[in-house]
């Protein structure tokens, strides 16, 4: 049972990490607290729902299209809500407020258009039976999540640390004006980051919708708190940190539920994470920002 609980924890943690990846790109790297992130997540899931139910797509075709669709949604929302604030150098937290209003409108509109009911992807999209390996049970959807998380972590780390683009993103996040002077089109770069982040969220939405068989307008909203926790405990903008914090959170929750008391799983998880922050005030892998006197 211990081994199965560990697997449960890792799988749950992987879903947290999967959700957090695009979020850490947008919030951790770009320093924009964009609460519409949860919406991209459900947007991706709904696009996949439409593609598979109405247009007969298979999962491998639906996944990338849904991801890009969510990316497009992200770009549009960035343009509508945030581009103006960036132009006028608005205070940092105004981005939080505008996206708060934005999600309120979006979720309500989505609920009245799509209906409040929970939907599910076609059951035969991926095999729903679990593999049994040495007594441990894992489903195809769960394996997909593990795989997607691993691929995305790798790709994002490569992007952020290894490419000019990643460099430009980090530069723009810190000093947009100076980045402009270097020849970076900050408007377009911000749109690109939104797109990538939206794609990651969209793909996450499809996979998590597939795994838990529940797609509804608020599905991303329900993960926002965990998403925040994961990227902050991991250290803002640190992709490896988001992965590890996600896994940690998943394992703690599962082990508390499995071996202590299920009613306390959030409490214990949060308490431990707060203690982590007390001992490492910039998260597991975060570096304190150098600002010299």
């Amino acid at each position: 049972m211990f081994a199965q609980q560990l697997v449960n924890g890792v799988l749950l943690g992987a879903t947290y990490a999967l959700f957090a990846l695009g979020f850490t790109l947008m919030f951790g790297v770009l320093r924009v607290i964009n609460l519409t992130y949860g919406f991209y997540f459900s947007a991706g899931a709904f696009i996949a729902l439409f593609l598979t139910r109405q247009a007969g797509f298979g999962i491998w075709a639906a996944l990338p299209v849904a991801a890009m669709g969510a990316g497009a949604v992200a770009v549009a929302l960035d343009w509508l809500l945030l581009s103006r604030l960036r132009r006028v150098n608005a205070p940092e937290l105004s981005s939080l407020m505008v996206t708060l209003g934005g999600v309120l409108a979006l979720y309500s509109a989505a609920t009245s258009i799509l209906g409040p009911d929970i939907r599910r992807l076609p059951p035969d999209l991926v095999a729903s039976d679990a593999f049994v390996l040495a007594g441990l049970r894992v489903t195809t959807a769960q394996l997909l999540i593990l795989l997607a998380t691993a691929v995305m972590v790798g790709a994002l780390m490569a992007l952020m640390r290894g490419t000019r683009l990643g460099l430009a993103i980090r530069a723009m996040a810190e000093k947009p004006d100076a980045a402009g002077l270097m020849g970076i089109d900050t408007g377009r770069l911000a749109a690109l980051v939104s797109f990538i982040s939206g794609c990651l969220a969209g793909a996450g939405g499809v996979l998590i919708g597939l795994n838990f068989n529940a797609i509804h307008p608020y599905m991303g909203e329900a993960m926002m708190l965990r998403g925040f926790v994961v990227i902050i405990v991991g250290g803002l903008g640190d992709i490896r940190g988001a992965l590890i914090a996600g896994l940690l959170l998943g394992v703690i929750e599962v082990f508390t539920a499995g071996y202590v008391a299920s009613g306390l799983k959030e409490a214990v998880a949060f308490a431990i994470l707060v203690v982590v922050l007390w001992t490492r005030p910039s998260g597991l892998f975060g570096r304190a920002v150098v600002r010299r006197a």
């Binding site: 103006r84 708060l100 309120l104 409108a105 309500s108 509109a109 902050i232 405990v233 306390l264």
Partner: protein, 282 residues
Amino acid sequence: MIIPPWLDDFLWTYQNLIHALGINGLLALSMYVVLAVGQLSLGQAAFMGLGAYSSALMTLKLKLPFFMVLPASCVVPVLFALAIGVPTLRLSGVYLAIATIGLGEVLRAVYLNVDYFGGALGLSGIPERAETWMIYGLLFAAVAILWLVGRSGVGRAMEAMREDETAAGVMGVNVGRYRMGALLASAVLAGLAGALGAHVSSFIGPNEYGFEPAVTILSYALLGGIGTPLAPVLGAWILTLLPELLRGFSDLRLVFNGVIIVLAVLFLPNGLLSWRMKRRGA
């Protein structure tokens, strides 16, 4: 004085709204005092919950009179603020925000799991002891005090900290003490709001003090602004009134609500009341 019947009816109809405006105003101020020193501490909902639960229990179980319950309702939140303040206030920005939200979630689990707190059923049958004049009296007093303090050297020190803690420290501002002071003031205001809220609505439940209320309280201050203590109160009032004013739109009510917020922020990114008060008392 004779109140004309139409006014009586009006007051009854909007009584809860009138109470909520005052209470949310206090909550907005409890957010304001921490934002004013540059801290993104989101423990307000948790403090409000502590005030609400402790006051409700004092009324229900100990049968204490409200004039004792109300001041006492600050005690528990203040004790919590003291306890978490020391380790937590080293954190800054979103790290602090998450740590303090963690407090709210832990407390929620306690309310849910300990029968004494009523579990998911919450506490009901709380007598309606908070009067409108108490709520607005406290709100007025809080605005006045924060205003007067804001215009003094203390206000200057707070704003200086918000802009640059290192430089403020070099100017002689005891940064740690100010942070703690702001957190305690925040706990007092939120605790009072919690107690008042519990004693106007007869029921409190564990889900009223978690993550979402924490964000709502933050949004009061963000929408209104933090230039003066009036700004967050205005923000709270607008966000409290909007859903009621928009009842006519039925289904699309919250859509319009969101759109209005978006437009307000886009065109007034520094808050609805963006002017700042003069920081000099002479």
